[in-house]
């Protein structure tokens, strides 16, 4: 566990560096294989045309590749393994396809400190855009357990 840091509460609105990532067909196929969705064959082309419909958690992978969790840990000045993933949600606004170039923009939307429970929650919101079109909006909540005393 780590000590609560009152600086954390000032991080609401903190914007992470945006980045771009290509939806690689090979990655989509590997996901389908991992989920054992090898049949029917007719669904695979559909998966590449509307990735979110077949693989609802795929966009999370783009953030992992970019090291977003490590970035969050760095901002909080704690080791990454103290971040517990508590909640995750996705809202699907428009389809995204294999080959699309996605722009990923994230920020810390809210910081909630629960001193009675010795835990601090960090809500991160992410927008996945194809051009200027918002394809997916996601929210990740990470929890950090803290020591009983805090500064």
């Amino acid at each position: 566990m780590v000590r609560f840091n009152k600086v954390w509460k000032t991080l609401e609105g903190y914007e992470f560096v945006s980045f771009q990532a290509r939806i690689e067909r090979d990655r989509v196929v590997r996901y389908l294989d991992f989920l054992e969705q090898k049949e029917p064959a007719t669904l695979r082309p559909h998966a590449c045309e509307d990735v979110g419909a077949m693989l609802p958690t795929f966009t999370f992978t783009l953030e992992m590749d970019a090291g977003v969790v490590a970035d969050l840990a760095e901002v909080l000045a704690i080791p990454a393994h103290y971040l517990l993933h508590g909640e995750q949600s996705f809202v699907y606004k428009a389809p995204f396809r294999c080959g699309d170039l996605v722009t990923v923009e994230s920020y810390i939307r809210d910081v909630t400190w629960k001193p009675d429970k010795h835990v601090c929650f960090f809500g991160k919101e992410t927008h996945f855009l194809i051009g200027e079109l918002l394809a997916v909006k996601s929210r990740s909540v990470y929890a950090v357990k803290t020591l009983k005393e805090h500064v």
């Binding site: 991992f34 989920l35 958690t57 949600s89």
Partner: protein, 136 residues
């Protein structure tokens, strides 16, 4: 009383090999999912499973069961850590009363440790029939 519309299912056994495979696939290589020493250093008794692995499997369960419907939103809360080797059983809970011929469906679900019965993941998904306008 509303009955569940989706067939319950047993998700994959999340043993260490599965966690490694998911870490490589997803890019989530946090050592608490891969290394016992790091997991215990972080305060866990053993390696814990990726919450997102369970959400990925739950997503697959949902999309297969709701073929033809358009997924609009999907959320999970990882209620409790899942130790390596956990196997979840997933089921729809609290089916919402839908109007006859509704074009929108809400699925509430709960995933329990198949051995202990402890709830590990809860969540919700919204589906819309393609072509119907969304009320959300």
């Amino acid at each position: 009383m509303e009955t569940s519309r989706l067939e319950p299912a047993l998700l994959r056994d999340m043993h260490q090999d599965e966690l490694r495979a998911y870490a490589e696939l997803s890019g989530d290589s946090n050592l608490i999912h891969l290394n016992r020493a790091q997991a215990t250093l972080a305060g866990h008794p053993d390696v814990i499973c990726h919450g997102m692995l369970s959400m990925t499997d739950i997503g697959s369960w949902l999309t297969r069961a709701m073929t033809g419907w358009q997924l609009e939103a999907f959320s999970c809360r990882f209620v409790a850590p899942m130790s390596v080797g956990t196997r979840l059983s997933i089921a729809e809970v609290c089916p919402e009363e839908d109007e006859m011929n509704s074009c929108e469906i809400t699925i509430n679900f709960s995933a329990k440790d198949n051995k202990s019965g402890d709830v590990k993941v809860i969540g919700r998904a919204y589906f819309r029939w393609p072509g119907a306008s969304s009320s959300r």
